[in-house]
């Protein structure tokens, strides 16, 4: 009667998740070659499930297949980061609009709680914690839209930009501003003001993009597309 209890873990699913994490967290650098034998040893699986995992990540856009020459981690260019933020901005705007119609009290309460967690991290200067809360809030808003397709699409794109996250060592000024924007976002959500929330989220994402792109340009954490 309970299908949830016995969910068999398959090697290729495991490999997919671990490979994805390795890419998102930069353990596998952008442009790096995925050598099957090496990854098989590292993950402790044979080539069959590993190759299936690589194919999945290829469809997610995290790796690029090179016929007869294996696969590489998709290069992160300024252009693709900008493009991805543009799309995510539109998606979050839609999510905000829908969330104002569909959010439950429990979901709103959870977002409020995350918001205060985030304020705490901000007050302590805990940047890593701040990023975690921030991510959780945005994902919660998207989830509250009630549109699972939207949520899945958003998560996929989010994985791409998270690869550039560590470089977004934002300035104190930008950080304070982001927190202020979040105050407004929460207020609009509480008021169920979809039009306003839509605008706020779109602007918030735009500012975040500007900050990331600015940080990227100075730190060089992302290349400009020039690979071999």
């Amino acid at each position: 009667m309970n299908d949830l209890a016995l969910a068999p873990r398959l090697l290729h699913e495991d490999a997919t998740e671990r490979l994805r994490d390795m890419i998102v967290q930069g353990e596998l650098a952008a442009g790096a070659k995925l050598v099957e034998r090496v990854l098989c040893e590292h993950l402790g699986v044979s080539r069959t499930p590993l190759r299936e995992a690589i194919k999945r990540l290829a469809s997610e856009g995290l790796v690029a297949l090179q016929p007869n020459r294996g696969a590489i981690v998709t290069p992160l260019t300024l252009a693709t980061v900008r493009e991805t933020f543009e799309v995510m901005g539109a998606l979050e705007a839609l999510a905000g609009q829908l969330a104002c119609r569909n959010i439950t009290d429990a979901q709103l309460a959870e977002i409020r709680a995350l918001h205060f967690d985030m304020l705490a991290c901000h007050a302590r200067g805990d940047l890593a914690g701040y990023f975690r809360c921030n991510q959780a809030i945005h994902l919660a808003i998207v989830a509250a839209s009630g549109n699972a397709t939207l949520a899945a699409t958003y998560r996929n794109l989010n994985a791409h930009v998270r690869r550039a996250r560590y470089v977004a060592n934002l300035s104190r000024g930008r950080w304070d501003q982001a927190v202020a924007e979040h105050e407004e976002i929460l207020a609009a959500l509480v008021a169920r003001d979809g039009v306003r929330l839509q605008r706020l989220l779109s602007e918030h994402l735009g500012a975040k993009m500007t900050a990331v792109l600015g940080a990227v340009e100075t730190t060089g954490g992302v290349n400009d597309g020039a690979y071999d």
Copy 2:
């Protein structure tokens, strides 16, 4: 010097495309079980590349993996069709806005040509041709946005709703209205009026969704999610 000439075709890529076509065109019905042996014979490949193809389509959302029980064609529910149209509407609105900034004269000329092709199909009552031109126009607008990430995301979602396309045997009234909407869309694009184009595309998609959902409800081309 020409990388395009020598693009080796790999079996798993071929299998992916053919399987995807089979699903989009309804040859493999929603909810149908993907039996590896059968598909191997049909496609003339062994299980390894076939399984890789299935994994790719799983990441695209066209098939659902069932651990230790293979895979099925993802059921098309009214809810997922509605969700997908919502997301596509937001993406097209963004695309229109960006296209007004970035479209080239050649791209605009091509869209205009497609528009007249579409009018010709409409005048002849050629519904299939109309759908083709209509698709081409929307894809061209998305491409003209200059945002490759947006285009890729849009195409992926489009594959999902195309599965329900054949049921959208729209009424004459809705057809005429859609053509009228396209006139306005083209005009806004020519005028580079991003704000207006954004609104028009969003409304156009919304109307299309209503038409498809209405047709679906009467013809039953899509189920309501009741699969075992």
